[in-house]
């Protein structure tokens, strides 16, 4: 019977092609805009490491000025100081741990044919790579010995590898950063996480950096941060090492990965004990506040999905609702014009339910047609957005429809069809059959 109702619905759509096209266009516009806005929100809120939600934690510690609240949201600095990084890296509780920050350096290629260029270099620890499941095309990360010493080793991304070495296996080759030669130990595969989750203090949609070196080069090379930095107290010291060791400026993103979610309490206790020790030394003058935050909560706290994107998604859904509500009148006119024919069907044995279902299916059919067209509009809109924001996005197709959004578009189409068709279908099924039989 469902197939029969669908066939009748299709016949009805064909009978009034212009009216049907108008309704389809109305739904397409609403579904297209909604799907576009929801896809933007969906892509920005996608957690690239959902299986590590309970073990991979972002570390924040409140060593801020007791007199003034820290900037940004959440009432706690979003990064930690160099001295606290040193302090908490002493713990052997985490399975992996890595603080990191970026510095902007000149890269001097081996080949005299390639001009030197500036590149963001991330200083981090060897644990960073397995922690964030960074894929390698050649070689791999450096080892703990290279972290400690530090050794002049580097991991490079595919673009820098292309620029410097023509895309070949460059493991063992060298590149010069400032005045120091670094040996390539690993070349990354195409790594384009949806969100650059390891550093949510900056634009999270940009591609990851293309050069990584051991963190401990910070002091020998006196590498300043090029990322976000917040401070509340000036620091005295004659050398870079003295100044940074005493600095209260926060610029390091610190992550720990625990072997077991049950270790979280123990690591929290460690952080609290460390902070208590520091308090005794005159630091950490604010109420004790050390936080371990999994990725989803951190993304929410740091508003990875901008408020504008949230508002746009909500507004687009409202627009779809308005489109659907406006289509009620068109459906009503279309259905009621068919009252005499419905009277005949009722006389031949169709129940109210049969009539209701037939007309609701027609509305859903039109809704799905509008949804299909709307998906095309959404895909076009996303392509335009990718082009307009090309420099800020990790890939050319950063915002794109996936299975979830296709399913969402189908659902939106069905809901739009339901909203637009429910009342008209109900009205036509309530029309007394005898009233229109003479006009049929």
């Amino acid at each position: 019977m469902l197939a029969y109702h669908l066939r009748l619905a299709w016949l009805s759509v064909r009978r009034h092609p212009v009216l049907s096209a108008l309704i389809v266009a109305g739904i397409a516009l609403g579904v297209g805009l909604s799907t576009w806005a929801l896809t933007v929100r969906h892509v920005l809120s996608r957690n690239p490491l959902p299986h590590k939600d309970e073990t991979l934690l972002y570390v924040r510690m409140d060593a801020w000025d007791p007199a003034v609240d820290p900037p940004h949201t959440g009432g706690i600095p979003t990064q930690i100081t160099y001295r606290d990084l040193r302090g908490i890296m002493e713990s052997d509780l985490p399975l992996r741990q890595a603080g990191s920050y970026v510095s902007n350096l000149y890269v001097y290629p081996e080949s005299p044919d390639v001009r030197p260029f500036r590149e963001l270099v991330r200083l981090t620890w060897s644990d960073f790579f397995p922690m964030f499941e960074v894929p390698f095309r050649y070689g791999g990360p450096w080892d703990e010995a290279a972290d400690a010493r530090p050794e002049a080793v580097a991991v490079i991304g595919s673009e820098v590898n292309q620029t410097l070495f023509g895309g070949e296996n460059s493991v063992g080759r060298t590149l010069r950063l400032r005045d120091r030669e670094f040996t390539v130990v690993g070349v990354l595969d195409d790594w384009r996480p949806s969100i650059r989750v390891y550093d949510l203090t900056q634009n999270p949609t940009v591609p990851p950096e293309d050069i990584y070196i051991p963190f401990n080069w910070i002091e020998p090379m006196e590498l300043q941060t090029s990322g976000n930095i917040d401070g509340w107290r000036s620091t005295d010291g004659e050398t870079f090492a003295e100044r940074i060791a005493a600095s209260e400026s926060v610029f390091i993103q610190m992550w720990v990965e625990l072997a077991d979610p049950g270790d979280r309490a123990a690591y929290q206790s460690f952080l609290d004990a460390y902070a208590a020790d520091q308090k005794r030394l005159g630091r950490f003058q604010r109420p004790l506040d050390n936080r371990l935050t999994p990725i989803p909560e951190l993304m929410e706290e740091l508003e990875v999905v901008p408020e504008q994107a949230q508002a746009m998604a909500a507004a687009s859904l409202l627009f779809l609702l308005v489109c659907a509500l406006n289509l009620i009148g068109l459906f009503l006119g279309k259905f009621l014009a068919r009252a005499p024919q419905v009277g005949v069907r009722r006389a031949l044995g169709a129940s109210r339910w049969n009539v209701f279902l037939e007309h609701l299916l027609e509305a859903e059919l039109v809704g799905l047609a509008g949804g299909a067209l709307g998906l095309g509009l959404a895909a076009g809109g996303l392509a335009l957005l990718n082009r307009a924001m090309a420099e800020q996005l990790a890939s050319d197709a950063y915002f794109r429809l996936d299975g979830t959004m296709l399913a969402a578009a189908v659902l939106l189409s069905l809901v739009a069809g339901l909203v637009a068709g429910l009342y008209p279908a109900w009205r036509i099924c309530r029309v007394p059959p005898a009233r229109h039989l003479k006009q049929a």
Binding site: R345, A347, L348, G349, A350, S351, N354, P432, K438
Partner: protein, 241 residues
């Protein structure tokens, strides 16, 4: 087959209340062929709509094939209409988007018959009205008489116990009218009760009995004196109901 007792039907607007049927009581036996006559506005069509469960009534009782239908759910009434009643209308009331076979199939669809049984019944019914060759034509491609024959085939395919015909020859010329009346007569002779509203005295004369309505009331119920010789029937197969 059909028993009404003191059935009253009102039409109300904000200003006026019209009694379309006033305490109507009548009995139509199984297998009868009854003509309902009366001037315009006498309540003939209202009576047919009430009898066909297409319209509710305010008071009285109505028993259809032994079942009290005064207070039935829409689902049950639809079922009864589908299984027991066949309608033939003055303006044929075929569905314009459906071809002949699909039109005949409509009541069978709502009955939930299998595709094989539907096809068999449709072909049988179209054969009996001589339109099997037109099964894939649209109603707009048929003459008025052919359309009414399709409407009759639609009734025949459903094999109802009662046929309600509202001016079935009202839009047809006299030759075509005779043909349609012949078909109805054959269906009746096969055992189906026929209740026909008509203005046409010649059509009314083909019934066994005539009910005359005036101002919503039954004013006369009389047996029809049959002519000894019927007009020659148009060429069509034997109707079966």
């Amino acid at each position: 087959m059909l028993e009404m007792e003191n059935v009253t039907k009102l039409y109300r607007t904000d200003l006026v209340e019209t009694r379309a049927l006033k305490d109507l009581s009548l009995v139509v036996g199984a297998g009868e062929f009854v003509a309902v006559t009366g001037p315009s506005g006498s309540g003939k069509t209202t009576f047919l709509n009430v009898a066909g469960l297409l319209d509710a009534f305010e008071s009285g009782t109505y028993r259809l094939d032994g079942e009290d239908v005064s207070r039935l759910s829409d689902r049950r009434m639809s079922r009864l209409r589908n299984e027991k009643i066949g309608f033939i209308f003055q303006s044929f009331n075929l569905i314009p988007d459906l071809d002949v076979a699909d039109n005949v199939e409509v009541p069978l669809r709502y009955r939930g018959l299998s595709g094989k049984e539907r096809r068999q019944r449709v072909d049988e019914a179209l054969g009996s009205v001589g339109l099997l060759a037109r099964r894939n034509h649209l109603p707009s491609q048929l003459s008025g008489g052919q359309q009414q024959r399709v409407a009759i085939a639609r009734v025949l395919a459903a094999k109802p116990r009662l046929i309600l015909a509202d001016e079935p020859t009202g839009n047809l010329d006299s030759a075509m009218s005779r043909e349609i009346m012949d078909l109805l007569e054959e269906v009746n002779q096969a055992g189906t009760t026929v209740l026909m509203v008509t203005h046409d005295p010649a059509s009314a004369d083909r019934a066994h009995r005539r009910l005359h309505l005036f101002d919503g009331q039954l004013v006369e119920s009389s047996a029809v004196v049959k002519p000894l010789v019927r007009p020659a029937a148009a060429g069509h197969g034997a109707a079966s109901a």
